[in-house]
């Protein structure tokens, strides 16, 4: 049960129930679909850039609690960041959920992302956690195709 509690932390359950930035964006300058064919998780990430800055970001779609909370936290963290900062967050998150993260200090730097540290104990769920992040990264690169984490 304790491992389970590290996966389904309060914050994850909360973001799943009340996802932030959960809406379509009419005037987005880019939108990318992310799809995990294995479990059917399916999201669209909308983005509006202002030069190098992510001026606004939102998402729609459906999936498991891990994927939805991850999309919600991702949107909250990336909003207002520069492209370089957002890419750095992607790298940090990726390392975190695949269990490649370094010492304690590193975890503390991650802020809200740290809630996802339990995911690395559940290899089958890594794809769920990473889906929205991959989709965001493609949006940054303005790749229009569907992204999958299969």
């Amino acid at each position: 049960m304790s491992e389970l509690k590290t996966l389904y932390q309060e914050m994850i359950l909360d973001h799943n129930k009340n996802p932030r930035n959960f809406r379509a964006m009419e005037d987005a300058d880019r939108s990318v679909e992310g799809y995990n064919p294995l479990c059917g998780d399916h999201y669209t990430v909308y983005m509006k850039m202002d030069g190098e800055m992510v001026k606004d970001i939102s998402f729609t779609g459906a999936g498991c609690a891990i994927s939805k909370a991850s999309a919600s936290v991702m949107s909250a963290m990336v909003k207002g960041k520069t492209r370089a900062q957002a890419e750095k967050l992607f790298e940090q998150f990726h390392q975190l959920v695949t269990g490649e993260v370094g010492g304690e200090n590193h975890i503390e730097e991650l802020g809200k992302l740290a809630a996802f540290s339990g995911v690395s104990e559940f290899p089958a769920r890594v794809k769920c956690a990473i889906l929205a992040w991959h989709t965001m990264k493609s949006a940054l690169e303005a790749k229009a195709e569907t992204v999958t984490t299969e």
Binding site: M1, L4, Y8, L38, C39, G40, C64
Partner: protein
């Protein structure tokens, strides 16, 4: 509908001893996350009895050799062991002859073989193939491929809200352009047992051959090819307590003879020159290359195992288990079962209100309970019922009511976590 069960005592007198049966399956006594394994993913693959495991080891220790090719002792021995399984299966499914029993990799390859070979010869531009809305992807995609190649149209018989094929609608799809009908005996996503005999007869009224995907039927019931009168029937060893990597395509001899080979290579030929090759007789015509000998031998051991069981008793035991599980799960107001046909095999697809199937799967797994979550290779079924995914508990005769209770507790835990 069996040839072997009549040796047993009458069904009423037989009592199925699940505790004894469980002793035959070593994996059922292992632990997962420190909890006893509760294996409820039998529709994906079943567990294997010790006798099958032993047969595999014995084959490699004492019998390994290639088949049909050598004059030496071991080659003869391996050939005999391989062909012995074909004989056992012929009897087990009551095929008219061993020539009608072709070894393939599994159900998927069985369907592909027929779609490609039969399709090449008999499906042309403007023709139609008919399947149903509850098929596994492996009984959809091969037909889409051949229809695309041949300029034919794929028609789909609809299902109702209980997950049953609407037979009247199916009948309306059959016409002079229909060249083949293919559907599952038992649905892996919904558990529905289709009225196969009736559906076969309806197709035959139009002279249309029928392929049955029996992947989910064989683990639960005996089937009789001559009684069903289907033209093709295909199933996988690994879902019926045998090894992975082998399955059977049954086909009526006349049709198989009329069909071109599926793959070319060794064993499927009689003579080869650069000008002309003559093909081997059935069933070898469709078995190109070195087959999966060891697993065929292991499959033979699985058939022996099944032959020693009392199937009427098993069917009634599984029926009770399914009824019990249905009652226990539906007593939880947050649980909705997808697939509510009156005729079901041991499969329960369900959703927990407000919780994604994947989260259900992870949480019950932490209790040692293996269920499948996702679309179960039946995305059109998910679409039909407007769910992205379901959790699925699927039973074998070695499962127990205690395991159903464990699942019910697992689901309560899901609700505890998610509120």
């Amino acid at each position: 509908m069996s040839i072997a069960t009549d040796i047993a005592t009458p069904a009423v007198a037989s009592k199925f001893d699940v505790a004894r049966i469980r002793k035959d399956f070593p994996i059922l006594h292992t632990k997962v996350h420190g909890k006893p394994l509760v294996y409820l993913d039998n529709a994906a693959t079943s567990q294997k009895p010790q006798s099958v495991i032993d047969a595999l080891a014995r084959y490699y220790k004492e019998q390994n050799s290639n088949v049909h090719r050598g004059v030496h002792f071991l080659s003869g021995f391996a050939t005999e062991a391989y062909e012995e399984t074909r004989k056992k299966i012929t009897r087990y499914i009551n095929a008219a002859s061993e020539r009608e029993v072709i070894f393939v990799r599994g159900t998927t390859e069985g369907v592909n073989l027929v779609a490609q070979s039969f399709g090449k010869k008999f499906i042309g531009k403007g023709d139609e193939a008919v399947i149903s809305a509850l098929e596994h992807h492996s009984n959809i995609v091969p037909w889409q491929m051949v229809c695309d190649e041949r300029g034919a149209t794929l028609r789909v018989a609809p299902i109702n809200d209980d997950g049953e094929i609407i037979v009247e609608e199916y009948a309306k799809l059959l016409n002079a352009k229909t060249k083949i009908v293919a559907f599952a005996h038992v649905s892996n996503a919904l558990g529905t047992v289709n009225p196969v005999k009736e559906m076969i007869a309806l197709a035959h009224d139009h002279g249309i051959p029928v392929l049955i995907d029996g992947a989910q039927a064989l683990p639960h019931m005996r089937v009789d090819m001559q009684d069903l009168d289907c033209d093709f029937y295909t199933f996988s060893s690994h879902k019926m307590f045998g090894p992975t990597g082998v399955g059977v395509l049954y086909g009526k001899e006349k049709l198989l003879n009329a069909m071109p080979p599926y793959q070319g290579g060794g064993d499927m030929i009689r003579s080869v020159t650069f000008e002309k090759t003559t093909y081997n007789d059935l069933p070898y015509k469709f078995e190109a290359g070195t087959p999966n000998i060891a697993d065929v031998v292991g499959f033979g051991a699985a058939i022996d195992y099944l032959n020693n069981l009392d199937f009427p008793a098993i069917e009634s035991y599984e029926h009770d288990l399914l009824a019990y599980a249905t009652e226990v799960l539906t007593s939880n107001k947050r649980v909705r079962i997808i697939g509510t046909s009156k005729h079901k095999a041991g499969v329960i697809s369900f959703v927990v209100d407000g919780v994604h199937a994947h989260d259900v799967g992870t949480i019950v797994d932490s209790e040692g309970i293996a269920v499948r979550t996702g679309h179960h290779c039946a995305m059109p079924v998910m679409e039909r019922f407007k769910v992205a995914a379901t959790a699925r508990a699927s039973f074998a005769f070695y499962n127990t009511k205690e395991e159903v209770d464990a699942l019910a507790r697992g689901i309560n835990k899901v609700i505890e976590v998610f509120g």
